[in-house]
């Protein structure tokens, strides 16, 4: 009866090895627990998200295209947890898929032949489509009862919709379904795809503070105790740039899945957070 479990190529990008380490760790832990195999793409390179796309259009396509070229050899979908990487990869894939002239140019720069056979997938998409919420629910050992959250997608996962082809850009639902499957209470709010300002986090921090503070206060207004994201930029930005006290933690969706599955390594993830989520988890009896 058990459907065949898929295997994927895994593109961590820079952040999942650094600022978003806990995202990378929890993603791998959760996938491994569910029997979904991730193989890190050998010899991957930067996706160019931080600066290339603003400076050099060819480079902005060529960098992700090289990764796509590498991944194509394995014939498996490329799981790209970082929303910014996902967006760059998808944008490149879209250009390769839909624009003959651009495809020819990129192919000649990267020296490969685009086949279009593999798909670029976000973590949420893989869990939702390939594993499905009801089976996620069946894996739960410690339901996250009492944990009130709002889902936060940011801008990169769902926009532009014709490129990302993922969830509803105005009213996304997938993350909420996954969170409900693990027993947490998802609060209704309208800001899931508002910008958090991560792109200006370092250069125009006052603007970002205003954006983040608004998000945090709206989340609080919605009755949430935490935000849940699937983007390392958002997660860090939300925790780093909030000004109000008490601070509100921001989880990666994979961290909460791991927690609900009762994965022992979950406890090692929390100390990477800028806002310590442990008081909240302790309060709810969800952490030792």
């Amino acid at each position: 009866m058990s459907p065949e479990l898929k295997t994927y190529t895994y593109y961590p990008g820079c952040s999942l090895h650094s600022t978003g380490l806990e995202y990378g760790l929890s993603t791998r832990a959760v996938f491994s627990h569910l029997g979904l195999e991730l193989t890190e793409l050998p010899d991957w390179n930067c996706c160019g998200a931080s600066s290339a796309h603003a400076l050099n259009h060819k480079l902005a396509y060529a960098l992700p295209a090289r990764n796509i070229a590498l991944a194509q050899k394995f014939g498996r979908d490329l799981v790209t947890p970082c929303a910014a990487c996902f967006n760059r990869m998808k944008t490149t894939d879209y250009a390769l898929r839909t624009n003959q002239a651009q495809r020819a140019e990129i192919e000649s720069i990267v020296e490969f032949k685009y086949t279009g056979e593999i798909d670029i997938r976000p973590v949420l998409g893989v869990l939702y489509e390939d594993y499905q919420p009801d089976r996620i629910a069946s894996q739960v050992r410690r339901p996250l009862r009492g944990l009130k959250v709002v889902t936060y997608y940011g801008c990169l996962l769902v926009r532009p919709p014709q490129v990302t082809q993922f969830d509803d850009p105005d009213d996304p639902k997938i993350m909420a379904e996954l969170l409900q499957a693990i027993g947490s209470q998802v609060m209704n709010w309208s800001h899931a795809t508002d910008c958090c300002g991560a792109g200006l986090s370092l250069s125009k921090s006052t603007i970002v503070q205003a954006l983040v503070s608004r998000l945090i206060s709206r989340a609080r207004e919605a009755g949430a105790d935490a935000l849940v994201t699937a983007c390392p930029l958002c997660q860090v930005n939300l925790e780093m740039r909030q000004t109000e006290r008490p601070n509100m933690p921001s989880f990666y969706i994979t961290e909460l899945l791991g927690l609900a599955f009762g994965l022992p390594q979950a406890r090692t993830w929390w100390n990477k957070h800028l806002v310590d989520p442990r008081p909240l988890l302790h309060f709810l009896g969800l952490a030792e």
């Binding site: 850009p169 105005d170 009213d171 609060m187 209704n188 309208s190």
Partner: protein
């Protein structure tokens, strides 16, 4: 029935009929214009009622008239017009032929209600259990499956919405209306539900217990959770019904519907039918035939009736009492039942009866031919169960026993006690046998069968029940031998098998090696199948297993007159299959007895569509709360231990609450469930559930498409949250919220909580002016929808009128109030109503958790220093999306079927200078289908299209139209009053509140009344005929009807009087419905008194009524057109081409007016000057036009049909013209600017001046490297000219684009206030921006300043909005977009014509919305710029529109004045002249020297203003004379 046009008679000329597709306001106008002009009209609409979108509107801008109030008279006029034939629920399939001779194929969908019988009373909707979202109310409320689109709908009739047969019903062999009775149960209407069940099923209590409920397998609900527990609901209803016989009787008495009459054609009185077998098949057949008048005798071999229901199903599953009560109910209908009567001689029976139905069932068990099967302890399940069932009955069991049942002859209560019992078989009967054995005290019970555990034919739940009772299963085994010792059974030797199923009735399996096992048992019961005992049926063909062979459709055997059905034919099946067979047999036998070739087809034919829902639809309904999300309620079972103790029924029924809750889970797949409640309720017998689609073929000469529009869906901009946030609504929903007949009865409230919103925001341009919409067809939605700015403003004003505390805010891009009277409307909205306009495109709407309020963030420049953008976030209680307009998919498909071309926006393409002509000759279009537009523009276009058709079909005018014929009028003036009073029950509308018989009795006592009666529906066709007869019989000379509203019904009854030879004004009506029964429902007694009083008043007035005459006036069939500009020429040409002579008067030497100064095309390929040349040469060469240049009208007299004009000609001579009608097309003139150095500086031009320059090549060359600055709103929207001149923005865009395209090295800057490129003109705006035309906004309070520059250029300083940044432009040319102003001598002409001007000096039409080209004074029409500023194509349209209005009048030989006119008593008149001043129609004359005022009856419209104004009571109104009115007052207060 097919309304096929017969052509013009000779087969050569055009057909004098037209088809109008779409019966909104445009379609109605086109139909009325054509019908009045002598063209027969078929008016078709998809909807069941006419009225279109306008019917949904609350008020209309800019007059704030109630939309329904102004439209309703048109609805009635269309509905009653002799020459307009309505085709509702219809669609055009195809069009063939050519202009003048088209054949249209029309598909008319079933309405399921007989239009000729339905009176619109609404009794049906009151009993309908199915509710669905009412799309007319924006789905903010619910309607019933049988509904009327809106209260004032024409036709005033209901229609039923069906989606198809519900899957449950489709799956059921007897097509039980499960959805129907489930819906009734959900409403707690158990008696009604019982009645619905009985329609199809004579055995509800039984099928509620033991059916295999295929309905539940088909239930759509199972796609998301579990099917509705239909069987349990049925059982509940049946049990409830037996406990509440009085309620059931009451329910049955309420309607008169007799389902038996529904089954076939002729009654069968006197025929005799014998039925052999009293099982479900036999009894059903017997009942059906009895109901049709047959004498039926049922023969039953057993001492009890019921067949397997009684002797096959154990009592713990189906108590015998339950069976008996339903059988009794059937027998009591008049069936003869002969028990203990075994039929053995079919031939003898055949002699005695006209037909025989053999339904003997399959009662003989089958044993496997294995060793030991004849041992005495080997039983058969059928015998065993029958014996058990009969053991309580007193009678002896007659023959029909198996030979080897010695054991069974013993007391069945004791034989199994303490035995090991093994049942062989895996079906329901095997389970029954096993569970019965348990109850009889067997020490151990087992079952073994060939099938594996999951292949067993018994239901899974049955098997589980059996296991619960300790029955041991041995599935997947074949039986080799029944082992015995000393003649006593010891067990069954079995071998395990791999069973694969049955192939052609034979089991397919392999035995597994080394699996032999003997299952120990003392008694073995075979339950592996049954066969009928049919050996005595030697006359008919028998098949294998003794089954009777029949025709599967008719159930006829090969012997004529002998039919067979049920298990005897099919082998063992379910009760419901037997009922189906009985029903089918009855139908076939009826046909046979009537000598018909084949029986009536089954009502639920297999061709009917099954209403299947997919899982998304099902989930959606469960999620959105339209159906209960609760889980399935299972019926309770007794615990296994209790069950085993005896034969008490093992299942318990649902409680009433449980049944209602379970029923609420139904998804209403079919919408209408055909529960027949409407049939019972309809006293007019108008319901036609079997109505079918009709295909019509209609001959017409031309087609006008007016299919209207639909709104952009609210989620076209998902970021505004429509569909997610309950308090975000579309503008159409908000219209309905404002409407008194809307979902909230006119109270503005929030959908989320019903609270009153204190703050409402409108977001403009949702789905308009939006290039991002529609990825595939890039431009869809990129146009301006033209009406939203105005309707949003109107909605804001009306909302504030509802609740003055509401804060209204409109977020907009440009305010486009470009129509007549619009600009002051916006100004008043700001100044008087305090509506806030914020110029900002809102990017998204967020919802506040908890309150469902909405947050809108917007940018304004009113920051601290006034110049920086500031983001505000503001909370609103309600957000209205001003959604745009688009053609619907259906209309688009229609146009595609007709082969019409579309433009880039998906609208039908029209020729710009023939704005109603499509790409297909003879097919015209009007209204919003060609471009978004408001009501008056649609009405104008509709008339224009009618004019085109009228010109095309002019030769056939009057050939297909009819005039009513009446008998000569009886002179009754001197006769004593003989009054007839007719009082209406209106179904139960009046009758259920007012004691109608008492009112009739009372009416008989009133003076003058010689006859009074009551009618179920006084308005029905048969009652009209009756009234005519009664008038003649009783020599009645006055008639009073007390019923509903005179608004719709007075003309009907007046017509009836005319048919009876009475003057129609000898009629009076009392409204005892709206004014009585509807408003005093809770006080029937006082309502009855009030009804008496109303009748007394009407009678009192009727006694004083006198016949009124309609004066007739000859019509001079010539027209005068004043003005020879584009509009005047167009109108003159149109009238001439429609076959009438025209005098065309132009003041100047040259024709053409303002068009002479328009040179630059708009980019759509048209050449204005070519148009001008064509028009002039057409006018000059048209023989029916008499042209007078340099001539002027100097005096005018007469009235419609008989005008006389004196004209001064070029040479100064005067000419006297006689004509029947006048079209005023005197135009307007460009404003000469008095600012911005116009006339002072050579480089300052108007747009008109510029056009003259743009065609000069040296001017164009001079533009290279230069800057042209244009200033908009010069002389418009200011103090001197407060209106918008409408065309200047388009003109500026057109000229700017021309310059940029011709001279790429140039710069064009447009300084504007609001850019008003309405409709598709938005495309020019986009193109202009793309062509680098620079647009800078200025504010009216800070107009640009212009100074001469240092060379021959100009310095233009402007404070650019919204930043208020001062910008200085150096302009080489300054072009002023000067507006349009009315002709200065309009006032003088208006006085000559006795017609009004508006406050701006333009001519004022009769009604800005619905009579846009008429004057209030009859016979005078207007078109073009004298009406208001408008562009070329709009002028052309309007001129043609005026032309058909004129032709409608000219095409009549004589005009009838309205009979209700004022009159003057010369003796009382003091000649004070007040009446002359108050008369709005110029129908009063008081010239110097006259001793009293006079009435020009042809002009008088009977408004009564003069009567009220006259201080001396010298003015009286016919039909409302003082005496008449006072007599009513006296009757009311005697």
């Amino acid at each position: 029935m097919t309304p096929a046009g017969k052509g013009s008679g000779n087969g050569k000329g055009p057909i004098g009929a037209a088809l109008v597709v779409g019966a909104g306001i445009a379609g109605m106008q086109a139909a009325l214009d054509l019908a009045e002009a002598g063209i027969k009209v078929y008016l078709l609409d998809r909807a069941p009622a006419i009225g279109g979108s306008m019917a949904q509107l609350d008020k209309t801008f800019p007059t704030n008239d109630c939309a329904m109030c102004i439209m309703s008279p048109k609805l009635v006029e269309v509905g009653r017009h002799l020459n307009i034939e309505l085709l509702t629920c219809a669609e055009v399939e195809s069009l063939s032929g050519e202009p003048g001779n088209f054949i249209v194929s029309v598909r008319q969908h079933p309405r399921y209600v007989d239009l000729s019988k339905c009176t619109g009373c609404g009794d049906c909707a009151a009993v309908c259990p199915i509710s669905l979202p009412d799309e007319f109310n924006g789905e903010l409320s619910q309607k019933k499956a049988i509904s009327k689109r809106y209260p004032q709908a024409i036709p005033n009739a209901y229609a039923i919405e069906k989606r198809g047969i519900a899957p449950c019903r489709n799956a059921c062999p007897i097509h039980q209306r499960a959805q129907g009775y489930v819906a009734l149960v959900a409403e707690g209407r158990f008696a009604d539900a019982y009645r619905t069940i009985l329609e199809d099923n004579p055995f509800p209590s039984i099928c509620g217990r033991v059916c295999n409920h295929r309905c539940e397998e088909a239930c759509s609900r199972s796609q998301v959770d579990d099917p509705v527990n239909i069987m349990a609901i049925k059982r509940f209803v049946a049990d409830w019904a037996w406990e509440h016989p009085e309620d059931v009787r009451d329910a049955f008495e309420q309607g008169q519907y007799d389902s038996a009459n529904d089954h076939g054609s002729l009654p069968l009185t006197g025929k005799r039918v014998g039925v052999v077998g009293s099982g479900p098949a036999g009894l059903t057949c017997a009942q059906d035939l009895t109901r049709r008048g047959c004498s039926v005798t049922v023969f039953e071999a057993l001492p009890v009736p019921g067949g397997m229901m009684r002797v096959g199903v154990p009592a713990y599953r189906l108590p015998p009492g339950v069976v008996q009560r339903e059988i009794n109910a059937i027998i009591d209908q008049g069936i003869e039942l002969k028990l203990n009567h075994r039929v053995e001689d079919l031939e003898a029976l055949r002699q005695e009866y006209d037909a025989i139905f053999v339904a003997i069932g399959a009662h003989t068990g089958v044993k496997l031919p294995i060793p030991g099967n004849d041992l005495p302890q080997v039983l058969q399940a059928t015998d065993f169960l029958r014996r058990m069932s009969l053991s309580n009955s007193r009678s002896e069991v007659p023959g029909n026993q198996s030979q080897d049942n010695r054991l069974i002859d013993q007391d069945p209560e004791t034989i199994l006690r303490d035995c090991r019992v093994l049942v062989l078989g895996g079906g329901n009967v095997a389970i029954d046998a096993a569970m019965t054995a348990v109850r009889l005290g067997a020490s151990w019970v087992g079952m073994t069968c060939l099938e594996g555990r999951h292949q067993m034919p018994a239901h899974d739940w049955e098997i589980r029940d059996a296991e619960e009772e300790g029955i041991e299963l041995f599935p997947g085994r074949t039986f080799k031998e029944i082992t015995s010792e000393k003649g006593s059974v010891t067990g069954v030797r079995t071998v395990k098998v791999d069973f694969r199923g049955f192939i052609e009735g034979h089991p397919d399996f392999d035995e597994l090696l080394d699996t032999e096992e003997v299952i120990l048992a003392d008694i073995v019961i075979f339950a592996i199948g049954q066969r009928p005992e049919s050996s005595w049926l030697n006359q008919v063909n028998l098949g294998g297993n003794g089954r009777i062979l029949v025709d599967p459709d008719t159930l006829a055997t090969d012997v004529p007159g002998i039919f067979a059905g049920g298990d005897a034919v099919t082998g063992t099946a379910f009760i419901v299959d037997a009922i189906a067979a009985g029903r089918r047999a009855a139908r076939s036998i009826a046909a046979y007895l009537n000598g018909e070739a084949s029986p009536m087809p089954e009502k639920v034919a297999s061709s009917k569509k099954v209403a299947e829902l997919n899982s998304q639809e099902v989930s959606q309904r469960v999620l959105d709360g339209s159906t209960s999300a609760a889980p399935r309620t299972e019926i309770a079972r007794l615990p296994a231990e209790e069950r085993k103790a005896g034969f008490v029924e093992m299942f318990r029924g649902l409680s009433a609450e449980q049944a209602c809750a379970e029923a609420a889970r139904c998804l209403h797949c079919g919408v209408c469930s055909e529960c027949n409640q409407c049939v019972y309720a309809c006293q007019a017998k108008a319901i036609l559930h079997d109505d079918t689609e009709r295909l019509l073929s209609i001959g017409v000469g031309a087609v006008i498409l007016t299919p209207g529009l639909e709104i952009m869906p609210g989620n076209v901009r998902p970021e505004f949250g429509y569909g997610r946030f309950p308090n975000v609504v579309t503008s159409l929903q908000f219209e309905r919220m404002l409407s008194a007949s809307g979902p909230f009865a006119g109270v503005v409230q929030r959908p989320s909580d019903g609270g009153h919103p204190a703050s409402i925001a409108w977001i403009q341009c949702v789905g308009s002016r939006d290039n991002s919409l529609g990825q595939s067809s890039t431009k869809r939605g990129s146009y301006c929808s033209s009406v939203c700015c105005m309707y949003a403003t109107k909605e804001a004003i009306i909302a504030k009128e509802h609740d003055a505390l509401i804060k209204a805010t409109i977020f907009y891009i440009d305010i486009r109030s470009f129509g007549k009277g619009f600009e002051p409307y916006i100004a008043r909205a700001k100044s008087e109503h305090g509506i806030r306009y914020i110029r900002c495109m809102v990017s998204s709407v967020k919802e506040v958790p908890g309150t469902h309020n909405l947050r809108i963030a917007y940018v304004s420049y009113q920051g601290e220093d006034g110049k920086r953008p500031v983001v505000h976030e503001e909370e609103f209680d309600l957000v209205v999306l001003s959604v745009g307009l688009r053609p619907s998919h259906e209309t688009h498909a229609l146009a595609e079927r007709l082969g019409l071309k579309f433009n880039d926006f998906g609208f039908v393409e029209v020729l710009r200078y023939d704005p109603t002509e499509t790409s297909r000759p003879g097919v015209f279009v009007a209204g919003a289908f060609a471009e978004p537009k408001d009501i008056p523009e649609s009405v104008i276009e509709a008339s224009c299209a009618a004019a085109q058709v009228s010109a095309l079909l002019g030769d056939a005018r009057g050939l297909l139209t009819r005039t009513p014929e009446y008998p000569p009028e009886r002179d009754v003036v001197d006769d004593p009053v003989r009054l007839g009073v007719f009082i209406c029950h209106c179904g139960i509308n009046i009758g259920s509140v007012v004691d109608v018989p008492a009112v009739v009795d009372y009416a008989r006592t009133l003076t003058g009344v010689v006859y009074a009666e009551r009618n179920l529906y006084t308005c029905s066709q048969d009652t009209q005929e009756r009234i005519v007869r009664l008038i003649q019989e009783h020599r009645l000379n006055r008639v009073v009807v007390a019923s509903c509203t005179p608004r719709t019904h007075e003309p009907l009854f007046q017509d009836t009087l005319k048919q009876a030879g009475l003057n129609p004004h000898l009629f009076e009506m009392a409204n005892i419905r709206e004014q009585d029964s509807w408003v005093h429902r809770s006080a029937p007694q006082t309502a009855t008194e009030k009804a008496k009083q109303l009748v007394a008043m009407a009678v009192a007035k009727a006694c004083k009524l006198r016949p009124l005459r309609r004066n007739l006036f000859e019509v001079d069939q010539r027209a005068l057109v004043i003005g020879g500009g584009l509009s005047g020429m167009t109108a003159a040409l149109s009238i001439a081409r429609q076959g009438f002579e025209v005098f065309l008067v132009e003041r100047q030497a040259e024709l053409g007016g303002n068009l002479r100064h328009v040179f630059i095309e708009s980019g759509r390929g048209e050449k204005p000057q070519e148009l001008l040349d064509e028009m002039i040469s057409a006018v000059v060469s048209e023989p029916r036009i008499k042209l007078f240049r340099r001539s002027e009208v100097i005096s005018l007299s007469g009235y419609a049909g008989q005008f006389r004009t004196i004209m001064r000609q070029a040479d100064g001579s005067q000419l006297d013209l006689q004509h029947g009608t006048i079209v005023v097309a005197t135009g307007a003139r460009g404003i000469t600017p008095t600012e911005y150095l116009y006339g002072e500086h050579a480089r300052v031009l108007t747009q008109v001046d510029l056009e003259g320059c743009l065609v000069q090549s040296d001017f164009m060359e001079g533009l290279i490297g230069r800057t042209v600055v244009m200033i908009q709103c010069v002389g418009s929207r200011d103090v001197s000219h407060p209106y918008c001149s409408r065309i200047c923005c388009t003109q500026a865009l057109k000229n700017a684009l021309f310059i940029r395209r011709q001279v790429p090295d140039s710069r064009v800057v447009i300084l504007y206030r609001d850019l008003r490129s309405y409709g598709f003109r938005e495309e020019f705006y986009r193109q202009a921006r793309e062509a680098s035309v620079i647009f800078l906004e200025y504010d009216e309070t800070a107009k640009p300043t212009v100074n001469p520059g240092d060379q021959d250029n100009l310095q233009v300083e402007v404070l650019v909005q919204p930043e208020e940044r001062a910008v200085t432009l150096s302009a080489d040319w300054l072009v002023l977009s000067a507006g349009i102003e009315p002709q200065p001598d309009n006032e003088a002409l208006a006085q000559l014509l006795k017609v009004p001007l508006n406050e701006d000096g333009f001519f004022l039409e009769a009604h800005v919305k619905l009579r846009p080209v008429d004057f209030a004074a009859q016979g005078i029409y207007l078109a073009g710029l004298c009406h208001s500023p408008r562009c070329i194509e709009e002028s052309i349209t309007q001129a043609q529109s005026a032309a058909i209005r004129a032709v409608a009048l000219l095409s009549k030989q004589q005009l009838q004045a309205t009979p209700i006119v004022a009159s003057v008593n010369p003796k009382l008149c003091a000649a004070c002249g007040i009446c002359v001043d108050v008369c709005p129609y110029g129908a009063r004359v008081l010239e110097p020297g006259m001793t009293h005022a006079e009435v020009i009856e042809v002009l008088c419209q009977g408004c009564g203003a003069c009567v009220a104004a006259c201080p001396n009571k010298a003015s009286q109104q016919k039909g409302f004379e003082f005496q008449q009115v006072f007599s009513m007052l006296e009757a009311a207060y005697p």
